[in-house]
């Protein structure tokens, strides 16, 4: 899917209640516009709906509008969640509107000021261990909140982890491809959506997609933590490596430990990350609480 073609001025014209609509930045398949609503800063996300040729489809053959459904799901998930480490939904509800021959969708979220982990790493290099522990603890709280609602995020990656300038906390963004273990319709065709390089081993087999649980998200958190403390992806061996090769590595290769890449990483934290990256679900942490306990132990040991 391509990004919507709409400017800040055009968005402001479509939604007159929006003030100070700023320059957008791309966020996955969406454009994210900073703006104000009743004086409060928000992020308005805009994405394209799928286009169907109405002349050649009937109600029976009309395919599911996956993008609309995902946006709806993202909004519903965030509305149901109550965590400082997930963005809050704003006052502009999910709205479909026509623009330049396209059907677009818009909704608002809490505006989070700060860099994402990808930008942080590019700018300042690997995080210190205490900072990585903070990141892990915040994001696992967000994962636990999603899991409380029987959902897994499935798209945890550095670009989806933001650090709030306000208090330094980390926020898990974009649960748009979250998998609802009760309702699997969005992946009914067998394709498990993911960002290249960020997929749990058990998700590589579409036939078994419904067997996944929160431990898939813990695997993805493991990849992000590995990158956070080493600056490198655990399963990417070279620049421009194909996604298929990376998946093969995810399925078969044990990465070099974080400590072997960077001596500042403690043995305990290195082992924790490697445990998150275990191929077998039963070898990872069995719950978010168990991971939090392990993080506390490492924090206690280093202080």
């Amino acid at each position: 899917m391509t990004l919507p073609k709409i400017t800040a001025a055009q968005l402001g014209a479509a939604f007159p209640q929006l003030e100070n609509v700023g320059t957008p930045r791309p966020g996955g398949q969406k454009l994210v516009f900073p703006c104000k609503l009743a004086g409060v800063k928000y992020a308005v996300k805009v994405l394209r709906c799928q286009q169907f040729d109405a002349a050649h489809t009937t109600s029976e053959t009309m395919p599911l509008d996956v993008d609309y459904a995902r946006a709806k799901r993202e909004v519903a998930i965030l509305q149901a969640c109550n965590s400082h480490y997930l963005p809050k939904i704003g006052p502009l509800e999910l709205t479909e509107f026509p623009h330049d021959g396209d059907r677009l969708l818009a909704f608002s979220e809490e505006f989070i000021e700060g860099p994402n982990l990808e930008e942080l790493l590019a700018r300042s290099g690997p995080l210190t261990e205490p900072e990585a522990i903070r990141l892990a603890s915040n994001i696992v709280t967000a994962i636990a909140e999603l899991w409380r609602l029987n959902k897994i995020h499935r798209d945890i990656k550095p670009a989806n982890i933001m650090r709030r300038n306000l208090d330094g906390s980390y926020v898990l963004l974009d649960p748009g491809i979250a998998f609802d273990l009760v309702d699997g319709t969005l992946t009914a065709e067998g394709c498990i959506p993911h960002s290249p390089g960020y997929i749990a081993p058990e998700h590589t087999n579409p036939a078994r997609k419904r067997e996944a649980d929160v431990r898939a998200d813990l695997f993805l958190l493991g990849i992000s933590l590995y990158e956070a403390v080493t600056g490198t992806h655990p399963f990417r061996e070279r620049v421009n490596q194909s996604p298929v090769e990376i998946i093969q590595n995810i399925l078969r290769k044990t990465p070099i430990t974080p400590r072997a890449r960077r001596r500042e990483v403690s043995v305990g934290f290195s082992q924790l990350v490697m445990r998150l990256l275990e191929k077998k679900r039963h070898m990872r942490f069995r719950s978010c609480d168990h991971l939090q306990e392990a993080l506390l132990k490492i924090e206690g040991a280093s202080s």
């Binding site: 067997e211 649980d213 431990r215 490697m274 077998k280 679900r281 039963h282 070898m283 069995r286 719950s287 168990h290």
Partner: protein, 399 residues
């Protein structure tokens, strides 16, 4: 280290003596061998004994699928329904009813742990395996609503052959480790009623791996029933507690004793040898060992067996109760020695060395032309050793 007495028919004062004299820490009860009232009264009585730290009831619900089975007192229990087949487990409301009745019954007892009902798993990919998981999940949900507060153990009855398929076992462990229970009560089912310590290497490896994953990796408590002489190996892999009883039927689980023609010969008097990791029949084997002045090599060194050092074993009046108490003391010492060896790697190395020593001792006895009946021989040791080495290599690979 926790060793539990596996309760069954004919307890007399053996359990209390095991708690007082042998280092046992509790009991796993078999409703089949006790009426509901006497079971409740006995559990209540032992709950006042400080040494009896753990009491749990194996609901023995799994016996329901034995057709026309010899259920003993089990049919007097309000939760037990005989002769159920797969169709009785299809409706979720039926599962809920079975689970509810089983846990409600235990709620009224002075047990320390609640134990979920289960049915026998022959292979991890068969329909019974799914039913067992449904019973487990439903039990967890029911226990949470019940709000009893006592820890819930999910019980599992697994056929030894099922443990041979590493891939299926791993997938099953993916499911088990997703359960939000306190721990597991695991029983391994063997085929036929014959007694021996034998378990093939792949099954040993599978069992050790399952215990390791559940206990050491995922921090569940793991209780293994009917485990007898293999108990030290299971503790080496991380088992929380193991158990054994006073007769063969309480030391190795099979469905034979639930079958209509159950019953059998009384076992010959036997001596549990710590160095051999097996029993020695008093006659003719131990008499022959004593005649060749090799007693010191096989003696266990417990408070019960001093007479063996100088006398002829068959003349010592070695009765069943003393034999049982001696057996438990031997197991407790074997387990303590294993635990004292430290972490998983240390414990595995310790028990591997004990197995090698036992094999060597059997060779020495063979060279001295001591005859052993098959079940008392060394056949199990090489299988345990091979399974243990396979498991140890796997643990070391995982770091």
């Amino acid at each position: 280290m926790t060793f539990l007495v596996q309760h069954g028919y004919g307890k007399s004062d053996k359990i209390e003596r095991a708690l007082d004299e042998c280092g046992a820490s509790g009991v796993i009860y078999a409703p089949r061998s006790e009426t509901p009232d006497s079971l409740a009264a006995y559990i209540d009585k032992l709950s006042r004994k400080p040494r009896c730290a753990i009491q749990l009831v194996d609901p023995q619900f799994y016996a329901t699928t034995v057709p026309n089975g010899n259920m003993g007192k089990l049919i007097e229990y309000p939760y037990f329904r005989p002769d159920l087949s797969v169709r009785n487990f299809r409706a979720p409301r039926d599962i809920t009813q079975m689970v509810g009745a089983t846990l409600e019954f235990q709620r009224r007892l002075a047990v320390t742990h609640l134990c979920s009902p289960t049915i026998a798993i022959d292979a991890f990919n068969d329909r019974w395996s799914s039913i067992a998981l449904n019973l487990a999940s439903e039990s967890i949900g029911f226990a949470a609503v019940m709000g009893d507060g006592r820890p819930l153990l999910v019980s599992l009855l697994i056929h030894e052959q099922a443990l041979r398929s590493q891939e299926q076992l791993e997938e099953f462990l993916d499911e088990l480790t997703d359960l939000e229970c306190h721990g597991f009560y695991i029983v391994i089912r063997h085929e036929g009623g014959g007694f021996s310590q034998l378990l093939d290497p792949a099954s040993v490896n599978g069992l050790l791996y399952a215990i390791h994953v559940l206990s050491e990796v995922n921090e569940f408590e793991v209780y293994v029933g009917y485990s007898d002489f293999i108990s030290p190996l299971l503790h080496a892999a991380g088992a929380t507690a193991t158990a054994s009883g006073w007769n063969n039927g309480l030391r190795r689980f099979s469905f034979a004793r639930f079958e209509p023609q159950a019953g059998g010969r009384r076992a010959k008097p036997r001596y549990s040898s710590r160095p051999l990791l097996n029993f020695i029949p008093i006659t003719p084997e131990f008499d022959a060992i004593a005649a060749l002045r090799l007693t010191n090599a096989v003696i266990s060194g417990t408070s019960y067996d001093r007479g063996f050092r100088s006398g002829t074993p068959s003349m010592l009046g070695w009765d069943d109760t003393t034999s049982a108490l001696h057996h438990w003391q031997v197991l407790v010492r074997l387990i303590s020695d294993t635990i004292a060896a430290g972490d998983t790697v240390g414990r595995l190395a310790h028990i591997e060395a004990r197995i090698s020593e036992a094999i060597e001792l059997y060779r020495r006895l063979d060279r001295a032309r001591i005859p052993f009946e098959v079940a008392a021989g060394p056949g199990h040791l090489s299988a345990w050793g091979a399974g243990l080495r396979e498991f140890r290599a796997q643990v070391e690979r995982e770091g």
